[in-house]
Assembly symmetry: C2
Homo-oligomer: 501 residues x 2
C-alpha cells in the first residue's frame, strides 16, 4: 500500500510519466459521499489513511438531502401540527403548513452545512466535487460538472463504490414534470398540495401519505400489490391502512395508475379490471421503488458484475474486480441507510484489520414511521417456511392491548410477533407494530442477528409497566406452548430437521 503523501510515478513508464502531473494518489478513493461512503471515508481517514471522496451532488447523500432526514423531520413536525388540532381550512392553517415545510428545509440545510463542515475539517480527507468514472480498478476519473474539459484522475489501491440509488420514475401518460415529483423534489414544495396522489404504498409512500394528510392535504394512496407495505406481514399492513384511512387518506390497493389528465386533475386508476377516476389531483408523488446508481461509472468496461438489484459483492464487500469494493444502495445487498452504514463499518474493519474474522452480515431491520409504526427484522413467514419447512417454524403474537401498559394507555392496535424455530426457539424473524415500534424491536433484532432464542428472552426482566413486556410475553407464549410437550417437540424437531438435510 502506498504510504500517505508519496507517489509511485515510475521512471521509464511513459504512460505514468504523462499522467503524473494530473494524477493524484491516495490510499483510498470513495465514490459517493452518502451514508455508506462517508462512513468508509471517515473511518479510513481516522486510521491515518489519505482518502479522497468523490461527490457530484450534495454531501450527505439521499439520507440527509432527500431521504430520511427531511422525511422524518416532516413526520415529526406534521405530527406536532396535527396534535395542535389544526385542520385544513382552519384560520392559520395554510401558514402553519407552509411553516412546517420551510422548517423541514431549514433543518435539512443546517445538517447539510454541518456535514460539509465535518468533511472539510477532517484531516486526511479530501472532497473532490464531480462525477466519477472508473478508468481501472485503481484509477478514477472525475469530471467536473459544467466543465467537461477539466478531468482529474485519482489513483488508489482501494476504490469503494458507494453511489447509492435513486427513485424509479414511471411513464404515466399525461403526467408532466410540473405535477410529478419524487423524493428528490418533494421537499422543495412551498405549500402542501391540495390533493396529493401517492403512487406506491411502500415505506416512502405510506410515510409521505401520513405526513401530508397531517398537513391537511387530501391524499390518495395507490399500491399495485394487494396490500400496503408489501414486505410486511398482512396484519401489519392492515393496521397501517386503517391508520391512514382514519386520517382521511383514500387507500387503493391492487390498483394501477394508468393516466393523468391535467384538466380537472383526473388520475385514472385500474383496479380489478374496474376503472376509477380520482379528481382534483394537483400533485403526484411517484414512490414505486429505487434503482441503484450504476450507470456511467464504467463498470461494464472493467467487467464488474452487476445484477438486477445492483453491484454484486461478497461478504467482504468485494466486487468481482480485485481492489474494487461496493457498499450500500448501489449493491444487491443493502437498501437502507443503516445497512449502508453497517457495511461501511464492516469494510473499514476489514480493510484495517483483515486478520479479524468476518462475521456474517445478518439481516437488516427495517422501520416504517407511519401510524402505527412498523418495525421488522428477518425474512417473511413464507420465506422461512420455504427454507426450513412449515413444520419447523412456530409463530407467537401478543397484542399490545393485552399488556398492562397497553391497558393503561388504551392502545387498541399493534402487536409483537415472532417467528421462531420449533423447540430451540431461535428467533428467525419478528415484527412490532405500535407506538415507537422501531425502539421496541431492538431486543428481537439483537436475538435474530445473534441466533438467540425465545428461551433466553423469557428470562429477561422488563421494568414495569413498559410496552417492551410484549417481547417477553411472546417468549413466554413460546415457552408455555413448548415446555408441556417437550418430548413430542424434540421428536418433531429431529424428524423435520433430518428430512431437510
Amino acid at each position: 500500500m502506498t504510504a500517505p503523501g508519496t507517489t509511485r510515478a515510475g521512471a521509464g513508464d511513459t504512460r505514468a510519466e504523462a499522467t503524473a502531473v494530473s494524477d493524484q494518489r491516495f490510499d483510498a478513493v470513495v465514490v459517493g459521499a452518502g451514508s455508506g461512503g462517508l462512513t468508509v471515508a471517515f473511518g479510513l481517514a481516522r486510521t491515518g489513511k489519505r482518502v479522497a471522496v468523490v461527490e457530484a451532488d450534495a454531501v450527505g447523500g439521499d439520507c440527509t438531502n432527500v431521504g430520511c432526514i427531511p422525511s422524518k423531520t416532516l413526520l415529526a413536525a406534521s405530527r406536532a401540527l396535527a396534535e395542535r388540532g389544526l385542520r385544513a381550512g382552519d384560520p392559520g392553517w395554510a401558514d402553519a403548513a407552509r411553516t412546517v415545510l420551510a422548517f423541514v428545509r431549514a433543518k435539512r440545510d443546517a445538517l447539510r452545512e454541518r456535514e460539509d463542515h465535518e468533511v472539510a475539517v477532517e484531516p486526511n480527507l479530501t472532497l473532490v466535487r464531480g462525477r466519477a468514472r472508473l478508468l481501472a480498478a485503481d484509477r478514477v476519473a472525475v469530471a467536473t460538472a459544467g466543465d467537461g474539459a477539466a478531468e482529474r484522475v485519482l489513483v488508489a489501491p482501494i476504490v469503494v463504490l458507494a453511489t447509492g440509488a435513486r427513485a424509479v420514475t414511471i411513464p404515466l401518460p399525461g403526467l408532466d414534470a410540473d405535477v410529478a415529483t419524487t423524493n428528490a423534489t418533494l421537499f422543495d414544495l412551498v405549500d402542501p398540495p391540495r390533493h396529493l396522489a401517492v403512487i406506491g404504498g411502500g415505506a416512502i409512500g405510506a410515510e409521505m401519505a401520513t405526513a401530508f394528510a397531517r398537513l391537511g392535504s387530501r391524499v390518495t394512496l395507490v399500491e399495485a400489490a394487494p396490500q400496503l407495505l408489501p414486505a410486511a406481514p398482512a396484519a401489519a399492513a392492515e393496521l397501517v391502512s386503517a391508520g391512514l384511512r382514519a386520517r382521511g387518506v383514500a387507500v387503493h390497493v391492487g390498483a394501477k395508475a394508468v393516466r393523468y389528465e391535467r384538466d380537472g386533475g383526473m388520475l385514472h386508476l385500474e383496479t380489478d379490471g374496474d376503472a376509477v377516476a380520482v379528481a382534483g389531483v394537483d400533485r403526484v408523488l411517484v414512490a414505486v421503488g429505487r434503482r441503484p446508481n450504476v450507470d456511467g461509472l464504467g463498470l461494464e468496461a472493467l467487467g464488474v458484475r452487476v445484477g438486477r438489484g445492483g453491484i454484486a459483492t461478497d461478504r467482504a464487500h468485494r466486487t468481482s474486480v480485485r481492489g474494487l469494493y461496493a457498499i450500500g444502495d448501489a449493491t444487491e445487498r443493502a437498501k437502507f441507510t443503516h445497512a449502508a452504514n453497517a457495511q461501511g463499518r464492516r469494510l473499514v474493519r476489514h480493510l484495517t484489520a483483515p486478520w479479524l474474522p468476518l462475521v456474517p452480515e445478518g439481516d437488516y431491520p427495517a422501520a416504517t414511521f407511519t401510524e402505527p409504526e412498523v418495525a421488522q427484522v428477518g425474512p417473511s413467514l413464507a420465506a422461512l417456511q420455504a427454507r426450513y419447512g412449515a413444520d419447523l417454524v412456530v409463530t407467537h403474537r401478543v397484542d399490545l392491548a393485552a399488556l398492562d401498559r397497553g391497558y393503561v394507555e388504551g392502545h387498541d392496535a399493534g402487536f409483537v410477533e415472532a417467528h421462531a424455530m420449533r423447540l430451540t426457539g431461535r428467533v428467525l424473524a419478528a415484527t412490532v407494530v405500535g407506538p415507537h415500534a422501531a425502539e421496541l424491536i431492538q431486543l428481537l433484532v439483537w436475538l435474530q442477528r445473534r441466533r438467540g432464542s425465545l428461551w433466553q428472552l423469557s428470562r429477561h426482566v422488563v421494568a414495569y409497566p413498559a410496552l417492551s413486556e410484549g417481547l417477553k410475553k411472546v417468549a413466554d407464549a413460546f415457552v408455555f406452548a413448548t415446555l408441556p410437550k417437550l418430548p413430542r417437540e424434540l421428536g418433531a424437531y429431529l424428524r423435520h430437521r433430518w428430512r431437510r438435510r
Copy 2:
C-alpha cells in the same frame, strides 16, 4: 408432598384428630394476592398443584389497586389532557380533571374485576379471604376480618409469603388524616387538590407531582435528599427537576417538612437552616418510602429472620425456616412489581424443577415515568467504584440531541449513559433519560444482566433513524476510546484487577 385432595390426619394423634375437621390441606399456600403472590399461585396451579392464596384486601395487590395501574393510567390520561392544552381555570377544565380521576378509578376497577374473575375460574386455585398468621412453617391460620371467631387453618408443605409493603407515614405536627394522603388513598380523590404538597421526591412523588401538575393542581415537591430521585444519577435527577419546574411545580430539595397549619394551609419547611412557609396547601401526599408488611404474621415466634429491609431470603427465595419462602416487597431483595414477578417465576421454576440450575438473580431495572422518563439498571457509579476501584470503571454518555432522530424531533434533553468495565467493556450499569426511556433501555438491561459487553453492542444494527442508536453510539464511544490504546488498556486492566484480588 401430599397428593391433591388427600389428608394426613393420622390415627392416634389427638391434636391432628382435633383439627382435622377445620384444617384444609393444599400443596401450597401463598400469603398475599399481589403481583408476586399471584405469579406463584397461578404458576403452581397450572402445573397441577392445589394452591390456596390468602388475601385480606383486594386481589391484585398494591400494583393493581393503589400503585402502578392507577398511577400510570393517571399519567397517561393527564398527559392527554395537557396535550389538549387545557389549563387550570379554563372553561371545562374542572370537569375534565374530574373525569380523568374518575376514568382512573374505572380502569382500576375493571382490571380488579378481571383479576378477581381470573382467580375465581382458575382450576386448582382457592382464594381464601382474611388475614394470615403462621402457626408453623406448614400451617397458616386465616382470620376473617370482622368475625374474629372464625379461623381457618390451611396446611401445606410449601408456604410462600408475598405480603408486599405499604407506604411509610410520618408524624408531621398538624397534619390530620383528612389532609394527608398516601398512594393508598390518593386515587380516591374526586377532584384534584388546589395545591398539592408532595413530601418525598422519589419515583412515586415525582410521578404524582407530574400528573397533578398536568391536571392543573398547584404542586410543591419536597425532598430531603440533595436531589430528586435519590437513586438516579445527578444528571438524570436534574433533567426531571427541570421538567417539573417547566410544568410549574415548586421543587424543594434538601428540605424537610416540619409542620402543617390548617389555617391558611401553611406547610412549613426547613431547608439549610432556613424556614420556608408554603401557603394554601389543601392536600399533602406522603411518599417518603415503603416498609415491608411483616407484622402480625407470626414471623418472630417461628424464628424467621427479618432484616431492616424485610424478610431475609437466599437466592432460592427460602427464608431461614425450612419450607417457608418469601418474595417481593416483603423481602429485602426486591422493591418493584417486576421484581416480585420475576422472583415468583423463579420460585415456580425452582419448586417444580428443582434440578434446574439456579441462575443468579441479577439486578432489577427501574423506570420512573416523569417528563423526561428515567430508566436505570445496575448500581450507582459510586457503588461500582467502591466494588471494582475507580480505575476499572469507565463511563460513556451520548446526548439524544446528538442523534439524527434527536435532531429531527428536536430533543434537547435526555441521554444514554453506560458504566462499563475497562477493556472488557462489560456493561455494569446504565441510565437512559428521555422519551420512552423505559423501552429504550431494554438492550442495556439485557447486556447488564447477562454480563454482555459494549464490544458486542457496537456491532448491533439499529433501523435508521431510531433513538436506540444512542445505545450503539455509547458502545462506539467505548470502542473508539479503547481500541487505539489497547496495550495500555490491557496493562491497566490487569494491574488493577490484580490489585483487587
